[in-house]
Symmetry: C2
Subunit: 281 residues, 2 copies
Amino acid sequence: MSAIELVSSVKSFEGEQRIYKHASAVLGCEMHFSIYLPAASLAGQDCPLMYWLSGLTCTEKNFIEKSGFQRYASEHGLIVVGPDTSPRGEGVADDEGYDLGQGAGFYVNATEGEWAKHFKMYDYVVKELPGVINGNFGVNGHVGICGHSMGGHGALTIALKNPGMFKSVSAMSPIVAPTQVPWGEKALGAYLGDDREAWEAHDAVCLVKGAEERLHLLIDQGTADDFLEEQLRPELLTAACEAAGHSYELRLREGYDHGYYYVASFIGEHIAYHAGVLGGG
Amino acid sequence: MSAIELVSSVKSFEGEQRIYKHASAVLGCEMHFSIYLPAASLAGQDCPLMYWLSGLTCTEKNFIEKSGFQRYASEHGLIVVGPDTSPRGEGVADDEGYDLGQGAGFYVNATEGEWAKHFKMYDYVVKELPGVINGNFGVNGHVGICGHSMGGHGALTIALKNPGMFKSVSAMSPIVAPTQVPWGEKALGAYLGDDREAWEAHDAVCLVKGAEERLHLLIDQGTADDFLEEQLRPELLTAACEAAGHSYELRLREGYDHGYYYVASFIGEHIAYHAGVLGGG
């Protein structure tokens, strides 16, 4: 395993909000990730862990600076890890659009053209990063995953594709059907090519149909979200869950939009949900 | 009174986080301010009000994006208003340093050179902005003031210089003695000139000595703050309070630094303190 290097560590709600960097073999570049260690973890206790996956344009910093999640992670003794949203750096392919390339990895393994060399965010989040975290921090094996927008898509699809890996999953304003919406069609087309069957392996609505595991899906959505009707379409996921008999809950938030004021308003509920399933630190 | 124009409004913890702009007659430029309106205010109830003054380099956005204060303002039914830290724009004087000029108004009325035309942040915060707020929003007359770093200096000096205007004051990692530290010497020298007596009218340690009103001073300070020994020196204020018989409390926070993770960790205590003095919304 490659070494990790501390970039910053700041005390926050009795714990520490840290950023580390490491050389990612999977992505072929240097990657940053954030980790919040509650006081119990700093005192040597093994704690439950929640991965947070961010949305388009984000780095590992947006969630830790803007959501205020640390208060809740501190209360519940939860470690929270947040990777960057794509490979980065010179020599890594990019696109002028905010919704493709750096900042927009979509949590898949690219197979096409210039993207195939570095854009393996699925393997990074599912394989490499957990190895790094488990090898360097005191985690107790109880793991949840949560995300926002593109990261909500990542959380749902990664949980559905890896039965047993997560005990809890939730998503805030997720892209639930990337095979049917513009953001998804653009990114999956670029990263995975023209074969739409390959896309379906990264579409929560498709995955629910054949899910091996009935892990409960907690979905959160603001009703004033500008992306709701064109890009997010949670009704496609709830319909798929109903048809497949898959357990879910949709929490609609009247008047809330897509941004971090929305995330900040409800991240406490999500962390309480994950902590309730995972057990305290 | 000049009209205010809504720049943005986003739902946050059942209230709304808004930014407005207006033409400031005092500053001679367009100014932005933030205002959080809790649900009770949106429902038409007059609410107590807390002004928040930010530190060096900040605009009206840093506090509203990074502190997570909205949760607490929502709980306590408190309106929170945050001005920018200086006049802005083309034609407004500036300096290459982060600690002078735009982003560094220091809450004084400049008398010197190029600064005298626009840098009247004291009059803006004490006179013009309260007029704008009282004329446009449902406030109940119970007002507090709080700030961070340069804004902590602003909160303390403005409260000390205006007996009866505020019922509560608190400061997080404030500059308490600008006449004795590099940040203050640079800014006060530039804005107010060589006469150090003029500086003393904007120095909390000096003002405590002759304070007409014994308004309790709540001071908050992280012990791992990189600016503690050279720029902040809270012991000068506590000594001045002891000598003058002025009521104060210093809350030291072991291991916390100067940044927004520190502010986020303790802003809840400050808002609870102000709300307790001011009464609920």
